[in-house]
Amino acid sequence: MPTYTDMTKCDGCGECVDICPSDIMHIDPIYRRAYNIEPNFCWECYSCVKACPQHAIDVRGYSDFAPLGHKVRVLREKEKGSISWKIRYRDGRLKEFTFPIRTTPWGSIKPPSDYEAPDINGLTSPMLAHEPAALKVETLPTLPQSGM
């Protein structure tokens, strides 16, 4: 059950094109609005739905939580770190759920490209790049050397 775009709400910002892991959200050559070019290949990850700042992308949910004839809408509030879902069933019932998606402010996590290139001597260490500082701890527990 793939995503689809309401073209009257879309402003053609390209966020969904950028985030789609299947690269199937593209820009319509006539209206310059986003659309799903290959619904059969949609993973239904809902990344585009959550990322759309205009709430222009709608989904048809999996049949195990919402049988056919339903409507699913999603609201991501990055300032609150939450995502809310509203499901309207075909018999008119409404259900709403809110989930936390993060506890740190939006944009506060440093992307890997912002770190310095790791030192080649680090290959001899069991630590991964930028550990332990990147994990915000002083040391990581290690296995005892004796008896190995």
């Binding site: 709400k9 094109v17 809408r73 939450s82 509203k86 936390p100 506890t103 402010p105």
Partner: protein, 251 residues
């Protein structure tokens, strides 16, 4: 250049009446094109259906004052300041283009109808005509070469053209050739001015008669869509979930 009327020199070989009839024809072309666009894409039917669905699902009725307030907020935010754009660069470029186009359009109409043969046109008209054109060119070129979503996100070349570019492409070409024609007139280069005038008229005509195939009509239906969204939020018929009651962010 900023204190001369580009249409006055034109009257040496073109009667003012011809220019005025051309402007009226273009206004009719936009009106007919928009009506055809509404009919062909069934936009009016779509919004009427949305309004009926919204009224049926409304949790409370809105008063006339509330509806008027929503309309004023739509005009103040979405129309006047392009508030629907979530990215500031697109918003600024759109504002430059839209206000530049409005200034250019109004000054053109006044100069063609009121001062077609005047020896001296007030600088309050001639300067804004040039400024409007420059605003469209700055905002339009910024958008066309850097901000177009297919260029910025799909990796298309900045020179890639598709049908969605018909509106912005013809607008940019029209004002660019208009400015070049005006410049050629001020430096008394008659032959070049004639060629540039031909290109200016070609792209201006293309801009206004291509409404059914271009994105020109968006300036009429986008405010309608924004107003409908505000009404749905206000009367409780919006299908979006309610905002979360609390924040999960730990600072």
């Amino acid at each position: 250049m900023f204190n001369s009327n580009p249409f006055t020199l034109l009257t040496e070989f073109l009667p003012p009446l011809v220019m005025q009839v051309y402007v009226v024809l273009m206004i009719f072309a936009v009106a007919i094109g928009t009506a055809f666009d509404l009919y062909h894409k069934q936009s009016a039917e779509f919004f009427a259906l949305r309004r009926r669905q919204s009224n049926a699902a409304a949790q409370r009725r809105l008063g006339v004052g509330e509806i008027a307030s929503l309309a004023i907020r739509t005009v103040g935010t979405e129309v006047a300041t392009s508030g629907e754009f979530c990215k500031w660069k697109r918003r600024v470029s759109h504002l430059l283009m839209s206000y530049g186009f409005v200034i250019y359009l109004i000054t053109t109409i006044v100069m063609v109808f009121v001062y077609p043969t005047a020896a001296h046109t007030p600088i309050i008209l001639t300067a804004p005509w040039n400024i409007g054109v420059l605003m469209v060119l700055i905002g339009g070129c910024w958008f066309f070469f850097f901000l177009r979503v297919n260029v910025a996100y799909e990796g298309h070349s900045p020179f890639h053209l598709m049908r969605a570019d018909l509106f912005v492409g013809s607008l940019l070409a029209s004002v660019a050739f208009g400015l070049l024609w005006h410049f050629a007139q001020t430096v008394h280069n008659g032959a070049t001015a004639m060629v540039l005038f031909g290109l200016y008229i070609f792209f201006t005509t293309l801009l206004f008669v291509s409404v059914p195939w271009s994105k020109f009509a968006h300036m009429f239906y986008k405010p309608m869509a924004a107003f409908q969204k505000r009404v749905e939020e206000a009367n409780g018929s919006s299908d979006l979930p309610r905002p979360a009651a609390s924040s999960n962010i730990r600072r």
